[in-house]
């Protein structure tokens, strides 16, 4: 039978010690150049055979796309060390590694049955250490191997494990645990072996199609003397039944002759693909079948089998990538599926998939840093555009740049720096472009250059009906207005066009000051900022004082100048507020300040609790209430950011971000909604409006705080035009205007 696997072609690497580095790299390079899929790095047993994992690592560093099948004999290495080595190499190569076990006389086990049992344990140990979906330490107790609370380390991708052999016990092991069975090319052995593998697989509740079949062949071209001789057409005739009748998906050629390898790659492989296309319904490219262990983690309510196959990546709860994609920076998540889209077309398909799942939560994610946590969910669908992260300069004269939603602001800053440009973003380089540039963008250059959306000139986006539109001041101007401050309600932006600012060297000051007179500190900080020219933007964090230690204020201030006198003049009023515990003032670049982001995947649990408010002035009355809240311990995070300046130059009705008259943006975070809300209620009389990216509350009355009445009513009218069904309902969801054609009742 055929199992519907994609056809793959590989080469078996000769690796005895006579085979020098140059020859190894040459073979690998040719395999890559010829378009072969993989190279098998054998674990030979001769004394002068090179050690395979060393050879595989060496070749990995000299190739860019070739798959590497590392052979291992469990007898020679502890499986935990093997797991670590393969995980490392897979990460170094961004997912090009496979692991192939050959059973053999084992040091730990005597006799065949024991050596198969030891191999089974080795596979279990490796899988346990790679399983980062289940948190905690790796444990295993077997007859041969033991893990007693070892740290897990996942490879970059789901590294397939193959097992080579013909023995009945081995076939059973393949059926139980392996991803691929490897054998010679004898048709009878294939028939019997497939039967053994399939029976064992079914007995274990697996689908036999989960297990690929690999053969290793030898041959030559020229005179026809037997199988795999003669012409390429003769080879195809020999190989076709192996594929069609015996389900072989991987064909590895073992040869030391370059001409034979070249003929195999450039003539046999394409001809066999064409022949297979002609007889098999799914053709040579086959279909991916996930392991039963992966399918077992699927959630109800999602039709996984209908996930769009063209997606860049579909990540299910059982896939290894899920561990790093499930959660956001501050919010733990457990979505049912993550659709990673890399093109407009893929976004449209992902959206269509979501529309086939009414009642299932839909979230959208650019880079997943959002404070409000809207980029993940529990049990729902996430459309992830983090792969759409291109940064392109469109026109140097007008400083026009086109940026994908998945780019992170550190990368944007680094890309713009060589031109002497910057785009004010936020205070953390790990934040993605998409979420921030559809909400506002309160960054370190806000008072001088405005909000991030104020530099936005056009967007390309996918709307609720799946259409792709451009919006700017002349084309779809209403939509362009709405995207700048309420973008999440209207679609998925797939490209942003900004006009960058000329920004040279900047001063960046990190000051840690005494805040034991907290009220006074806050008022004076606010006054100093408001009195300062616009080239200064300052953010201040006041951590709740702990354990009798003095109260501190930690400020981060950017001055868009590198002139020492100017910098000193701007910073002096801040420095004069109170005693200085630590200061660090550098002349640097905007990109260097943004280069503060971790590349580690988020491992958040739970729900963020954050509240946002905008205020005109830091009055003594506000400061008194704020100070009491900080001291009470009700909150764990208190930050004020200066806005105003250029932000306020933009008329309130020019964009959907309408609270232009605020001079400050406040965000607090805490542990529990009720506690934070109680404290927040005392502050709210001083606040007018909020910034949606910093607000985690889903209470409907927060909508009215996000947008003033005129803005809100225009937004609701547009919602009824662009998203009447409320497809995008996860982030400050607007109800469409009731009296508008297509609108529904609120």
């Amino acid at each position: 039978m055929n199992y519907g696997h994609a056809l793959r072609f590989g080469l078996h690497l000769p690796s005895d010690a006579d085979c020098g580095a140059g020859r190894l790299v040459e073979v690998a390079g040719l395999a890559e150049q010829w378009g072969l899929d993989l190279l098998v790095v054998p674990a030979g047993t001769a004394g002068d055979d090179l050690e395979p994992s060393t050879v595989a690592s060496w070749i990995a560093a000299a190739t860019v796309s070739l798959g590497l099948v590392l052979e291992a004999r469990p007898a020679t290495l502890h499986p935990a060390m093997l797991a670590g080595a393969v995980a490392s190499l897979d990460r170094l190569t961004e997912g090009r590694v496979e692991l192939a076990f050959r059973a053999g006389p084992s040091a730990a086990a005597s006799g065949t049955a024991d050596s198969v049992a030891a191999l089974g344990e080795a596979i279990a140990v490796v899988r346990e250490l790679w399983n980062v979906l289940d948190r905690g330490l790796g444990r295993f107790t077997g007859r041969f191997y033991r893990l007693a609370g070892a740290e897990k380390a996942a490879p970059a991708h789901d590294v397939p494990i193959s097992v080579d052999g013909q023995d009945q016990d081995l076939l059973r092991l393949v059926g139980l645990r392996a991803d691929e069975w490897s054998t010679g090319c004898d048709a009878v052995a294939l028939t019997q072996g497939n039967r053994g593998v399939d029976e064992a697989a079914r007995g274990a509740g697996r689908d036999p199609r989960e297990i690929r079949r690999r053969v290793t062949i030898r041959g030559g071209f020229g005179e026809r003397t037997g199988r795999f001789t003669g012409t390429a057409a003769d080879w195809v005739n020999d190989l076709l039944p192996l594929v069609v009748e015996h389900g072989v998906g991987t064909i590895v050629l073992d040869t030391v002759e370059r001409d034979v390898a070249a003929g195999f790659a450039s003539e046999v492989a394409p001809a066999l693909r064409a022949a297979v296309d002609a007889v098999l319904p799914r053709g040579w490219s086959g279909a991916r079948v996930r392991r039963s262990a992966v399918r077992a983690r699927r959630l109800p309510g999602i039709d996984y089998e209908s996930a769009p196959p063209e997606m860049a990546e579909v990540v299910e709860p059982g896939d290894p990538a899920y561990a790093r994609l499930r959660s956001g920076y501050l919010r733990g998540g457990a979505p049912g599926v993550i659709l990673r889209a890399a093109t407009n077309e893929q976004v449209t398909q992902a959206l269509a998939f979501a529309l086939r799942h009414p009642g299932v939560a839909l979230s959208r994610r650019s880079a997943g840093h959002g404070v409000s946590g809207r980029s993940t969910n529990h049990g729902g669908i996430v459309i992830d555009v983090s792969l759409m992260n291109a940064i392109e300069v469109l026109d140097r004269k007008t400083r026009r740049v086109r940026i994908g939603p998945g780019a992170r602001w550190a990368e944007v800053a680094a890309a713009l720096e060589p031109y002497g440009w910057a785009l004010s973003s936020g205070d953390y380089g790990g934040v993605g472009v998409g979420g921030l540039a559809t909400a506002g963008g309160i960054g370190y250059l806000a008072r001088w250059h405005g909000l991030t959306i104020d530099r936005l000139r056009a967007v390309e986006m996918v709307l609720a009906d799946g259409s792709v539109v451009r919006a700017d001041d002349s084309e779809n101007p209403d939509l362009f207005w709405a995207v700048r401050g309420a973008g999440a309600n209207f679609g998925i932006v797939t490209a942003f066009e900004f006009e960058a600012d000329d920004v040279g060297a900047v001063a960046f000051a990190r000051l840690t000051q005494d805040a034991s007179d907290l009220e006074r500190y806050l008022v004076e900080w606010g006054r100093a900022v408001e009195d300062s020219p616009r080239d200064l933007t300052s953010f201040v964090i006041v951590p709740p004082p702990r354990g009798g230690r003095p109260a501190l204020a930690v400020s981060r201030t950017m001055v868009d100048s590198s002139d020492p006198e100017t910098v000193r003049a701007r910073l002096e009023p801040l420095a004069a507020i109170s005693a200085m515990y630590a200061q660090d003032i550098v002349i640097t670049s905007y990109a260097a300040v943004m280069d503060n982001a971790s590349d580690d995947p988020p491992v958040s649990h739970g729900e963020p609790v954050s509240r946002s408010g905008l205020l005109r002035h830091v009055t003594p009355q506000f400061a008194a209430v704020a100070a009491r809240m900080i001291r009470s311990g009700a909150i764990g995070w208190f930050q004020l950011r200066s806005v105003g300046g250029a932000v306020a130059d933009v008329p309130a009705d020019a964009t959907a971000y309408a609270h232009r008259d605020a001079n400050f943006s406040l965000v607090v975070m805490g542990g529990a909604d009720e506690v934070v809300d109680r404290a927040w209620a005392r502050l709210s009389p001083f606040l007018d409006g909020l910034y949606i990216s910093f607000e985690s509350s889903l209470r409907p009355e927060r909508i009215a705080a996000a947008w003033p009445p005129r803005t809100l009513s225009r937004l609701r009218e547009l919602k009824s035009v662009y998203d009447p069904e409320g497809v995008f309902g996860d982030n400050f969801a607007l109800t469409p205007a009731a009296n508008h054609p297509g609108g529904s009742t609120p």
Partner: protein
């Protein structure tokens, strides 16, 4: 004064961080461009924040051309010597003789046991190192006839085929601090590889430890100079003088290093740093100046 007259060389000690995986590779390339002689990596396989050290070394070897590569030090309890010997010889052949071995008896036994390794008492660990070195050198000795047989308390090899042979005589260095391990180092090792930060009295500890190595070497019929002395360093480059050991200008560093070479016989200086700027200063400024100072002192 115990100068063994070895030529000075300089290296880096780079954190084999797993995230991002290419970071240590780039720092190894920086080390090579800085003119350093060696790049080395610590080995803590039970630590998931690190890459597998041997995999990283092999990968780095293919991405560099000249620099020598070593573990600093490899955790022997988790790296069976027969595999290590073949891996080291393979990499030595692939690199044309750029591999060196730094081995340790094992630290962090809880981590080793968690990975399935065997917990050893200090005295056992010392004996295990000796047996391991026998196995490694035995497998490399392809000019000897017959398969390798070692029957040990910790490692047993039943007639293994020898080979592959390394491309050059791979030096084996031991990370040693306590008397038993120091004596073993004098008896069998090609080098001693301690870290300055772990020496109880700083450089002053080197004198007595050197003596133990020297005595053990002599007792085994070896020249003390057969055991080269290396030292892992850490420090900070500053623009002004006046700091302590390795807390000053590159010129201060060079003088202090020359002093360590002439007084204590240290010939290999390995800087622990993941800062490209440090590696550049160490390779481009400290190393040539220290060599000059030692050269002129040895001549006079």
């Amino acid at each position: 004064m115990s100068d063994y007259g070895h030529e000075l060389w300089f290296g880096s000690f780079i954190t084999p961080t797993a995230r991002p995986p290419q970071a240590p590779v780039e720092l190894a390339q920086t080390s090579e461009r800085a003119g350093l002689d060696l790049v080395s990596f610590q080995d803590h396989p039970y630590q998931s924040a690190f890459q597998d050290t041997w995999t990283l070394m092999s990968y780095v070897a293919a991405r560099t051309e000249r620099i020598r590569i070593s573990g600093n030090v490899l955790s022997l309890p988790l790296r069976p010597p027969a595999v290590l010997a073949r891996a080291a010889a393979s990499l030595d052949r692939l690199t044309g003789g750029r591999v060196e071995l730094g081995i340790g008896a094992g630290a962090f036994w809880d981590g080793i046991v968690a990975m399935g390794g065997r917990r050893l008492e200090p005295a056992q660990a010392v004996r295990a190192v000796e047996e391991a070195v026998d196995v490694i050198r035995g497998l490399w000795a392809t000019d000897e006839t017959g398969p390798l047989r070692v029957t040990g308390e910790f490692y047993t090899v039943n007639g293994a085929k020898r080979g592959p042979a390394p491309a050059h005589r791979i030096p084996i260095r031991i990370g040693a601090y306590k008397p038993r391990m120091l004596r073993l180092t004098g008896k069998i090792a090609d080098g001693w590889l301690p870290s300055l930060g772990f020496l109880p009295e700083g450089p002053a500890s080197l004198r007595a430890m050197n003596e133990q190595i020297d005595e053990a070497a002599s007792a085994a019929g070896r020249e003390p100079a057969a055991v080269s002395r290396l030292l892992n360093l850490s420090g900070r480059f500053t623009s002004g003088a006046g700091g302590g050991l390795l807390q000053g200008t590159p010129g201060d560093w060079a003088e202090q290093i020359a002093d360590l070479a002439l007084q204590y016989g240290v010939s290999g200086f390995i800087l622990a740093s993941d800062e490209p700027a440090d590696l550049n200063l160490f390779g481009h400024e400290v190393a040539p100046r220290a060599r000059e100072l030692v050269q002129s002192e040895r001549v006079t």
